[in-house]
C-alpha cells in the first residue's frame, strides 16, 4: 500500500509540475489517467488495525452498525468503517483516542449494570439502541456518529466506504467528468426545449 501511495503522490506531483511550467493546465486525458491511478491505490485499503485492539474494534464496529445498520443494503460494517476509525484515531484524530476508550468503558459499564453483559457487541440490537439513545447527547456518541459517517462516505483509501458501499447507498457516482443532462428535470428541459 505504501509503495502505491508514494507512486501516486509522485505521479500527481509530476502532473502538477507540468502544469506549473506553463499557462496550460491538465488536459482531460491526464485527469482521467490520474483518477484511474487513484482508484487503483484505493483498492489497496488496509485490513489490519493500527491503534485499536481486536476487542475494541469489535465494540466500535457494533456501535457503528447501529448508526448505519445493515438492512436491505450494506451498512457501516460492510463498508469497513472500523478501518477508517482506526486509521484516523492513529493519524489526524489522535486526541480522540483516549476519550473514545473512556466512552466505550462507560458504555460497557452501562451494559453491565442494565443487562448484566459487559460487551456491547453481545447485546441484542434493541438493547444496543436503547443504550445508545440514552447517550445520544454525549461527546462520545457524537464522535462515534461523526466518524461512522465520515468513514462511510470518505474516499475508500482511508479504509472505509469499501466497494463504494456508502456512495452506492445514496446514489452518488464518483466520477471526475459528467456531461448534461445531470438529472431528470434538466433532461426533460432539454427534450422539450423549454
Amino acid at each position: 500500500m505504501n509503495d502505491i501511495q508514494i507512486t501516486r503522490r509522485l505521479f500527481l506531483q509530476k502532473t502538477a509540475d507540468a502544469a506549473r511550467t506553463s499557462l496550460f493546465v491538465l488536459s482531460l486525458p491526464t485527469i482521467m489517467t490520474s483518477s484511474a491511478f487513484a482508484s487503483e491505490a484505493m483498492q489497496m485499503a488496509s485490513t489490519t488495525l493500527s491503534v485499536l485492539n481486536a476487542d475494541e474494534a469489535l465494540e466500535f464496529t457494533a456501535i457503528a452498525a447501529r448508526i448505519i445498520p445493515t438492512d436491505e443494503t450494506p451498512g457501516a460494517t460492510e463498508a469497513g468503517v472500523i478501518y477508517f476509525i482506526d486509521h484516523v484515531l492513529g493519524t489526524s484524530r489522535t486526541e480522540a483516542l483516549a476519550p473514545m476508550r473512556e466512552g466505550l468503558s462507560a458504555l460497557q459499564a452501562q451494559a453491565q449494570s442494565t443487562y448484566g453483559i459487559a460487551t456491547f457487541s453481545s447485546l441484542q440490537p434493541e438493547q444496543q439502541d436503547a443504550l445508545l439513545t440514552a447517550i445520544e447527547d454525549t461527546a462520545f456518541f457524537g464522535t462515534m456518529r461523526y466518524m461512522t459517517i465520515a468513514g462511510m462516505f470518505s474516499l475508500p483509501e482511508y479504509g472505509g466506504n469499501r466497494n463504494h458501499a456508502g456512495w452506492d447507498l445514496i446514489g452518488f457516482d464518483h466520477a471526475h467528468v459528467w456531461s448534461p443532462p445531470f438529472g431528470f428535470y434538466d433532461a426533460e428541459y432539454m427534450a422539450k426545449g423549454e
Binding site: 500527481l12 506531483q13 502532473t15 502538477a16 507540468a18 502544469a19 506549473r20 499557462l23 496550460f24 493546465v25 491538465l26 488536459s27 482531460l28 485527469i31 490520474s34 487513484a38 447501529r66 448508526i67 448505519i68 445498520p69 438492512d71 443494503t73 451498512g75 489526524s92 439502541d129 445508545l132 456518529r145 461523526y146 459517517i149 465520515a150 462511510m152 462516505f153 470518505s154 474516499l155 482511508y158 456508502g166 456512495w167 447507498l169 445514496i170 446514489g171 452518488f172 464518483h174 466520477a175 471526475h176 467528468v177 459528467w178 456531461s179 448534461p180 443532462p181 445531470f182 438529472g183 431528470f184 428535470y185 434538466d186 426533460e188 428541459y189 423549454e194
Partner: protein
C-alpha cells in the same frame, strides 16, 4: 520569462500582501505596468493536479480553510461585554493559498446594482447603523466589472435582469441543472424572472484553460482542470510571466513598519520555519481579506499609530458584514443529482429591494442549489433533512432518497453595517506564530434576520409552486455565527473621520498604503461580493498606476 527575484533590503515598488481575489489582480496589473512587485502569501501555491475529491481532507481536516487544527484558532462572541470563546473551525472562513478563496468559492459573480451604491440617499439612513452611500457609483465601477468578465473569464447570459453592462459576457451560460430548471419553472408560475447564474467558471475553453467538466466537487474545492477562474490560474500566472513579480508563498506577514514621515516602508514576515524576513517597499497594497487586513493593521500599531495603522477613524475592523444566507430544501419525485456540475445555475433577483412597507430594510437574491453542496459526507453529517432521523435505519433510508432527489433554493441577502460587529485581536488566545487570534464579535441587526425570514418564506413558496413533496426551510433565526464573505472592515469613503480608505482604496492616513479586499465594501450588497472585490481591485490598480506616474504615492 523566469519569475523575478528581489533582494529584501532594497525597496521594491510594491509589496502586495495576499494573493486572492484582489491581491492576484493587483499583482498582475502592477507588474504588467512595469513595477517591481513582491507578493507575500501565507499559504502554498496549489495547482490543478493538487486538487482532489477528498471530502475528509478538505472539509474536515482544514486542508484549504485553516482553523484550530492548523494552528489558527479563532474566537467568537455575540456582544462586546462577553468573553469570546474558541470556536472549532473558522468563524471567519477563507482559503489559505495562492488565489485565496477564489480557489474554492462557488464562482458566483453577481455585479452589484446601481442602487447598492446610493441606497442611503434613496432609502434613507437607518438609525443605529453605519448604513451609508458609497463614494463611487455603479457607472464608475462598470468598466471594471466588464474588465473582470473578460480578464478572468465569466460565463453568463446578458439580459434585462442584468444591471447595465458595456459588453456581453465572454462565455455563454453554463448548462442548467435540474434544480435550476425547477427554479425557472417556479419563477414562471409566480411571475418572477429566473436567469442563468453568472459564474467565474468556463463554459467553453478560454485563454488556454479548458471548459468545466462538471465533476461536482466545486464549491469548497479547488478545480482540478483550472476551469474555475480563480486568480491562481488567471492573474497570478500572468503576473509571474511579466518577469516583474516575485511570488513568495508560505510567508506570514507579522507587521507593516512605517518611517518617520508615517509612510509604510517595510513589511515583516515569517517563513514557514519561523525565520523572520523583512522586505523594504516604496508602497504596500494590503489584500489579506476582511479579517486578516484589519488584524494586520492592529498588529502594526506604533507610537505614531497607537490604535493600529491607518485607523485614525477608529473604523478598522468595524462594520463586519457576512451577507445573510437562507436555505429551503425540497424533496422531488425525480432525480436532481445535485452532486454533478457547479453549485448553481439559476438566480432570481425579484426581491433585490424588499418593499419598505414590510417595515424593515433588506433585499437579496435566491439561487438554485444542491443539498449540502452535493457532498456525500456533508449531506449525511447534516442528518435526515426530511426524515428527521440522525442515526439508525430511518436515517439511512432517508439519506438514500434525499441525496439525489433534493433541490435547494437558497437566499443571499443584505447585512447592515454596525460598529458593534467587528474583528479585533483576542486578548488571550494566540495562533501558532504567537499572534493574537482573530476575534469576531457579531450579532445581526434585526432587519438582517427579518430579511432572511422573508427570503426563506419566498423560497418555500417557490418549492410549493413546483411540486416539492416535502420541504424544510432554515436560516440563522438567532443570528449568524460566522461567514465566508468578510466585508466592511476597512470601509471606503470620502470622509477620513468615518472611513479607512478613500474612493481609490488608498488609506486616508498613510499615503502609500492601499487596502483592497472585501473590507472596502461600504454596504454588503446582495450576497455575492467577489465580483465587486475584483472590480474594485482593477479600478484601484488603474489609479495607483496613474498616481505613480505623477509621483503621487
Amino acid at each position: 520569462m523566469a519569475q523575478a527575484s528581489y533582494p529584501t533590503r532594497e525597496p521594491v515598488d510594491f509589496v502586495v500582501i495576499g494573493s486572492g481575489a484582489a491581491g492576484g489582480i493587483m499583482a498582475k496589473e502592477l507588474s504588467t505596468a512595469g513595477f517591481s512587485v513582491v507578493v507575500l502569501e501565507q499559504g502554498p501555491y496549489l495547482h490543478p493536479g493538487d486538487f482532489t475529491h477528498d471530502e475528509w481532507a478538505v472539509t474536515q481536516n482544514e486542508e484549504l480553510v485553516w482553523g484550530s487544527r492548523k494552528g489558527h484558532p479563532q474566537t467568537f462572541r455575540r456582544y462586546e461585554h462577553e468573553k469570546a470563546e474558541i470556536v472549532q473551525g473558522a468563524p471567519l472562513g477563507y482559503a489559505h493559498n495562492v488565489g485565496g478563496s477564489t480557489v474554492h468559492f462557488s464562482g458566483n459573480l453577481w455585479r452589484l446594482h446601481p442602487i447598492d451604491f446610493m441606497e442611503a440617499s434613496v432609502r434613507g439612513t437607518i438609525a443605529g447603523t453605519n448604513f451609508a452611500d458609497w463614494p463611487i457609483t455603479y457607472e464608475e465601477l462598470e468598466p471594471y466589472y466588464t474588465k473582470v468578465d473578460w480578464e478572468i473569464g465569466v460565463s453568463g447570459l446578458a439580459g434585462p435582469w442584468d444591471p447595465p453592462r458595456s459588453r456581453d459576457y465572454p462565455l455563454p451560460p453554463m448548462p442548467v441543472k435540474s434544480a435550476g430548471v425547477l427554479m425557472e419553472r417556479a419563477a414562471k408560475a409566480m411571475g418572477y424572472t429566473a436567469f442563468p447564474a453568472p459564474v467565474a467558471i468556463l463554459s467553453k475553453a478560454f485563454n488556454g484553460r479548458p471548459a468545466c467538466i462538471h465533476c461536482g466537487f466545486c464549491n469548497g474545492f479547488g478545480c482540478e482542470v483550472a476551469a474555475k477562474s480563480s486568480t491562481a490560474v488567471t492573474m497570478i500566472p500572468q503576473a509571474l510571466l511579466t518577469g516583474n513579480c516575485e511570488l513568495r508563498t508560505g510567508c506570514t506577514v507579522s507587521r507593516i513598519n512605517t518611517d518617520d514621515a508615517g509612510r509604510a516602508n517595510e513589511v515583516v514576515y515569517w517563513l514557514e520555519d519561523g525565520t523572520e524576513q523583512a522586505q523594504l517597499a516604496k508602497a504596500v497594497v494590503l489584500c489579506a481579506n476582511g479579517a486578516e487586513t484589519p488584524r494586520l493593521l492592529f498588529l502594526s500599531e506604533s507610537a505614531k499609530f497607537p490604535d493600529g495603522l491607518a485607523n485614525s477613524s477608529g473604523m478598522v475592523g468595524k462594520n463586519l458584514m457576512f451577507n445573510g444566507s437562507t436555505s429551503a430544501a425540497g424533496l422531488f419525485p425525480e432525480e436532481i443529482n445535485g452532486h454533478k456540475s457547479i453549485a448553481t445555475t439559476r438566480v432570481i433577483q425579484d426581491f433585490y429591494s424588499i418593499d419598505p412597507k414590510h417595515g424593515f430594510y433588506g433585499g437579496g437574491g435566491i439561487d438554485s442549489r444542491s443539498l449540502s453542496r452535493g457532498l456525500p459526507m456533508a449531506a449525511a453529517m447534516r442528518g435526515g433533512v426530511f426524515s428527521g432521523a440522525t442515526w439508525g435505519s430511518d436515517f439511512k433510508r432517508g439519506l438514500a432518497r434525499e441525496f439525489t432527489h433534493t433541490a435547494s433554493f437558497n437566499g443571499h441577502t443584505t447585512s447592515l453595517p454596525l460598529s458593534t460587529n467587528n474583528v479585533t485581536l483576542d486578548p488571550d488566545v494566540k495562533d501558532k506564530w504567537g499572534r493574537p487570534a482573530l476575534r469576531t464579535t457579531f450579532m445581526n441587526h434585526p432587519d438582517d434576520i427579518a430579511t432572511m425570514k422573508f427570503f426563506t418564506d419566498r423560497s418555500m413558496e417557490m418549492l410549493d409552486a413546483v411540486g416539492a413533496i416535502q420541504k424544510v426551510g432554515s436560516y440563522a433565526e438567532t443570528g449568524q455565527t460566522g461567514g465566508v464573505h468578510l466585508l466592511g472592515t476597512c470601509r471606503m469613503g470620502n470622509d477620513p473621520a468615518t472611513s479607512v480608505v478613500d474612493k481609490y482604496n488608498r488609506s486616508h492616513d498613510v499615503p502609500n498604503l492601499f487596502m483592497v479586499d472585501g473590507g472596502s465594501l461600504v454596504t454588503s450588497g446582495r450576497g455575492q461580493p467577489t465580483m465587486t472585490i475584483m472590480a474594485l481591485a482593477f479600478r484601484a490598480a488603474d489609479h495607483i498606476i496613474q498616481a505613480a506616474g505623477r509621483n503621487d504615492i
